[in-house]
Every structure is written in C-alpha cells, then in structure tokens.
Amino acid sequence: MSDTVLSVRDLSVAFETRRGTLTAIDGVSFDIAKGEILGVVGESGAGKSVTGAAVIGLIDPPGRIAGGTITLRGERIDDLPPERMRRVRGRRIGMIFQDPLTSLDPLYRVGDQIVETIRTHTDLSQKAARARAIALLAEVGIPAPERRIDGYPHEFSGGMRQRVVIALALAAEPELIIADEPTTALDVSVQAQIITLLKRLCRDHGTAVMLVTHDMGVIAEAADRVAVMYSGRIAEIGPVADVVREPRHPYAAGLMGAIPTLTQSPGRLAQIPGSMPRLTAIPAGCAFHPRCPKVFSRCRVERPEPIPVGPSRVACHLFDAQENAA
C-alpha cells in the first residue's frame, strides 16, 4: 500500500527493573494510512500509551525497544540516532497529550511557541511564520487569533489550550499525529468540539492519526479503525463499526458489553471478572485466559497470534479452531 504512513511490525518494548525485565508491549503490529484515524483502546496498563511513545521515540530508560520495526513512509525510524529522531518529531510526527499545560511553556506567549516550532522545521521568515501561526490558530477555532496569539497559556481555558496544542502539533504539517488521551481532561461539551476538530483536520490535511484513549465512545465517533489492546498485545484490530458492534475477541466483547451507553436500555452490564494482570505476572498462553468465559486447554499453553477474521484481525484460538474445522 502506497498510502501507508506508519507501519509498526512486531514491536516490543521492555523495561529493565531490579526484579527482571518487564515486557510492556509484546509483538504489536499495525498500519495507519494517509488520512486515517486509528483508535487504540485498552484499560490502564494495556500498553496503549507505551505504543504511542515508542512510535515517537520517547521511551525513556530503563525502557527500550526490544524488538520489531517502526517505519514512517517506508523509512525506518526506530533505530535513528536521538538527534535525527528529534528532527522527525515535530516535523513529521506531531504530538498531542492529555494535559495541554505540559506541552506549553507557561513563560512564553503561545504565538512565540508556535513560531519557534514553525521556524525550527521550515525555512519561513519570522514574519511569514507569524502569519502562518495566526492562520493555524484560526484553523483550530480560536476566536480573534491575531490578538490571542500574544496571550500566555494561562490566559486560555482548558479547551482553548488544547486547541493551541493541536495548532502546535500541526505547525510543521506532519504526516502523522499521535494523540494520547487528547480529550480526557476536558468536559463533555468541549470534548465534542475537540473530536470534531481532529476529524476535520485529519480529513483536510490527509494526516494519519493514532488516537490513544480509554474512552470507547470517543473512538466510536472519531476513529476509522480501532485496535483493542490487552496486556501489551493487540487482541483485536479492525474497522470501528465491526469491532464495536460485533466484537469477536472475548475481551473486546466483554469490554463493549461493560460500557454503559445512552442508547441501550439500562439493564445489567456485562461483567468481566477480575482485572488486567500486572506486568510482573502475565499468565502463560493467552494473557486473557484466566478471565475468559470461553477458555479451553490450548489457551493456557499457546499464545494466540492475530489471524484474519472477516475484515478484522483477532488474536484468539477460538477463530483458529473454526478455520481448521471449515
């Protein structure tokens, strides 16, 4: 596929600790195409944020990429020296984090921060960069951008700050944006505005977006495809409508049933017993098997690899068995 922007193959990230090596993500593979939003969901500890951090090369020691490849437009970026990776970040990959205040320097006017980013990554003049910064602020929906560009981060509300961060992420026209819980700290009405904005920008600029969040509702509305992560691996990946309406992996099915929705009548929620294993005690075989309602003997010994099921890929022995029977 010539349209593939990001391609991750068999990625593993390990953390060296005094008690041995912890594998935070283990054998994760996915692609994101131009103009596509891939949602990455999972509960805390599933490895979704670590996956995002690995793509932008922000795994800090003692963590390290222990295996696999990450390619951006066919070019390997996981083994770049730090200085070259720094230039890829910001220029070719933009980032949006949960708390906009951590991405903004409180001592500098927001305009100066955007202009600095633009001038670092392009050869625009100061004046042209400022004009572009104003255009960017207008594009992300900040009213009166020619005046607000000289404001400090604390003068913006939470939602407006997140818009500034999105403008900052877009400053160098990146091919890929990693958005890690971009709406989690915002109120619902503002959250809706930010999702709409992200979707529009992705469509208009053809940017590939990796949207990491724990909120399935956000994914259902924003994403084209979704990857459900469990215990450092992708349990199921596929078009969002398939995964939400007809989840195949027992974990994905349990997760969808556990989420209260506005449209469904309030009955008893589906319940997955127990909780996600800690990294120090990942069960053998399929990591989900102790909680799985459909567990059978093979699940306890052999780790399932993702196999195609309909338009999705599912890592579950149930579907392998079906294929063999057919």
Binding site: S157, V188, S189, I195, G217, V244, P260, L262, S275
Partner: protein
C-alpha cells in the same frame, strides 16, 4: 416537587445555597484595591429522594454537584437552605441529638478509594472502624464475624481482611470502601464519582454491585457523576446542574428520551457514545463561563440557541422540572 406518589421523601433538599469566599489575601486587596470576591457554587438547589431510589446529579466541572453532595452528608455547612433526611434537619442545632443517631445511616463513597483509607491499617480494621465508632456491635468475635460477612457481601474474600489497601486493585479498593460504608448499617449512600477512576470493565463490576446491594438492602443512593451514560444506567431520577443551579429534573427515562432544557439537549448531543459510530455532529459552541462572574439572567444564555432578551435579564425558575424561559413560553418547539 417530583415525589413519586405514595412515598414520603427520604431526603429533602430545599433552596440549598453555598457561597465560597475566593477573595485574594487581605494585603493584596489593600494594595491592589481589589474588592472581596465570592463564588456561588450552589445557588438555590432543591430536590427530593424517595426511599430506595437512586437520584443522580449530573453536570460538567464547576456545576456544583459535588458541593451539593458534601452539604447533603453534612461535610460542608450550607450558606442557606435546608437539608432534611427522614425529616431530621442537618443544620438545625435543636435537632443535634437526632442528627447524631442519623449519622451512622448516611455514608459517602469517594472517587479515589485509596485516598479515603489509612494505608497503614489492615482492611479488617478499616471496615470495622464504623462499627467501633458507633459502638454497634460488642465483642471482638462478633465484630470480626460481621467484617467477614461485609467483605463477602461486596464480593471479596473474608480472608482479605488481613491485607493492606495497597495490595488491592482500584476496583477491589472501591469494594472495601463500599463494605466500610455498609458497616454502620447505612441506608443512604452518597457516591461522588464512585467509578470515575476505574477502568470500564471494573466500573461495570462496581455499578452492578451497587445495584445488587440496593436490591438486597433497600438502599437509597445519591449518585454524583459527570458521565451521562453511567447516570442513565444507575438513576431512577436525574437532576442536571449548570453553574450551581438545577436546570432540569426528571425521571431517567423521560430525561434521556425527551430532554427539554437546551443545556440538557446539548449535553446529550455532545457525549461520545458507542451507539454513534462515525457520527457527524453539530459541535456546541463555547465553554462554561467563570463561576465567579456568571452571566446575568440564565447562566446558559451565552451558549443557548434559544436565548432571548428575557434570558439575559431574569433567572428562570424551575417550573414543572425545567428552568428555561424558552420552554416556559413555548418557544422551544418541543
């Protein structure tokens, strides 16, 4: 107000108000000639909760829902208005003795269970604390038996009593918090975002547990949440708050099927939901105004598509469950 027929309200809240002084320190006020500033966190809130019912308050941050919860349980003194539980006033000094007897039956569950437990106490001691504090059961063996029973009730193992809170996951800790709340034979539980810090699969376990316990023990709940889907799942009646006031109140079903206040409609429209795959939405404009300096008239008027001259002047009163001039005047079109 909306009291279900034939049931005397368990909780009555009338015209509840709370003002916080958010002035700068005295020296700053003198030097900068700044006046005192106050924030009306809760401004004239009233509702009733019937016995055995789940009433939910829902709203975005700064709407005052947690402040109401804290005043209802008596953790915070109201600036005005009245809270009565089983007819006993929570503020009247003359009813102090009756209030003391009532206290044991009212318990609160917080968002972060870890912050509400002593990390150096074993779970058995944490759960037994209300029993000892209210002197409900005499004799160590009887107390231990009751603790084991309570832990079983919330889906933990009686042997878990010898563990410390850090040994539990978030969901299990919330179970311990619920066991502790039930230890004093509570009838009325106030949950302030009890599942907001939990992962969805664990949230489902806790919500199911709370409903099961309600069915078994006839508990009454006041449920505070910003999550509309959770509220829809839990509540029989719902109050929607915006900037310190209840803008709409009604049965859960009706409120979600036929929201009437423009803010409720906006909120329901804004929530990302599993049922809305790839939905293109009309985004809501604007954000919640600064509560120190709320707009005059109806606080929602700067964001409201139906705002008229009267809305900028006059605070709408709650009439038939909705506080909106447009609905009252029939301008809302529904």
């Amino acid at each position: 107000m909306n009291v279900p027929a034939g049931a005397a309200p368990y909780v009555e809240v009338e015209n509840l108000r709370r003002v916080f002084d958010v002035s700068k320190p005295w020296l700053n006020r003198v030097i900068e000639r700044a006046p005192r500033q106050s924030l009306k966190a809760v401004d004239g809130v009233g509702f009733t909760i019937a016995r055995g019912e789940t009433f939910a308050l829902v709203g975005e941050s700064g709407s005052g829902k947690s402040t109401v919860a804290r005043m209802v349980v008596g953790l915070l003194e109201p600036s005005g208005g009245e809270v009565r539980i089983t007819g006993v006033s929570m503020t009247d000094p003359k009813q102090a003795a009756a209030r003391r007897r009532l206290r044991a039956r009212i318990q609160m569950i917080f968002q972060d269970p870890y912050a509400s437990m002593n990390p150096r106490w074993r779970v058995g001691r944490i759960v037994a604390e209300p029993i000892r504090a209210f002197d409900l059961i005499r004799g160590e063996a009887a107390i231990q038996a009751r603790v084991g029973e309570l832990l079983g009730l919330v889906g933990l193992h009686p042997d878990d009593r010898s563990k410390y809170p850090h040994a539990f996951s978030g969901g299990q800790r919330q179970r311990v918090a619920i066991a502790r709340a039930l230890a004093s034979q509570a009838e009325f539980l106030v949950g302030d975002e009890p599942t907001s810090a939990l992962d969805v699969s664990v949230q489902a376990q806790i919500l199911n547990l709370m409903r099961d316990l309600q069915d078994r023990l006839g508990l009454t709940y006041l449920f505070i949440s910003h999550n509309l889907a959770v509220v829809r799942h839990m509540a029989t009646r719902i109050g929607v708050m915006y900037l310190g006031r209840v803008v709409e109140i009604g049965g859960g079903r009706e409120l979600f099927l036929r929201p009437r206040h423009p803010y409720t409609r906006m909120l329901l429209d804004a929530v990302p939901d599993l049922g809305h795959i790839g939905r293109a939405r009309v985004p809501v404009s604007g954000e919640i105004p600064n509560p120190i300096d709320p707009p005059p008239g109806c606080a929602f008027n700067p964001r409201c598509p139906l705002a008229a001259e009267r809305c900028r002047r006059e605070v709408p009163q709650l009439i038939d469950g909705v506080a909106c001039h447009a609905v009252e005047e029939g301008r809302a079109g529904y």
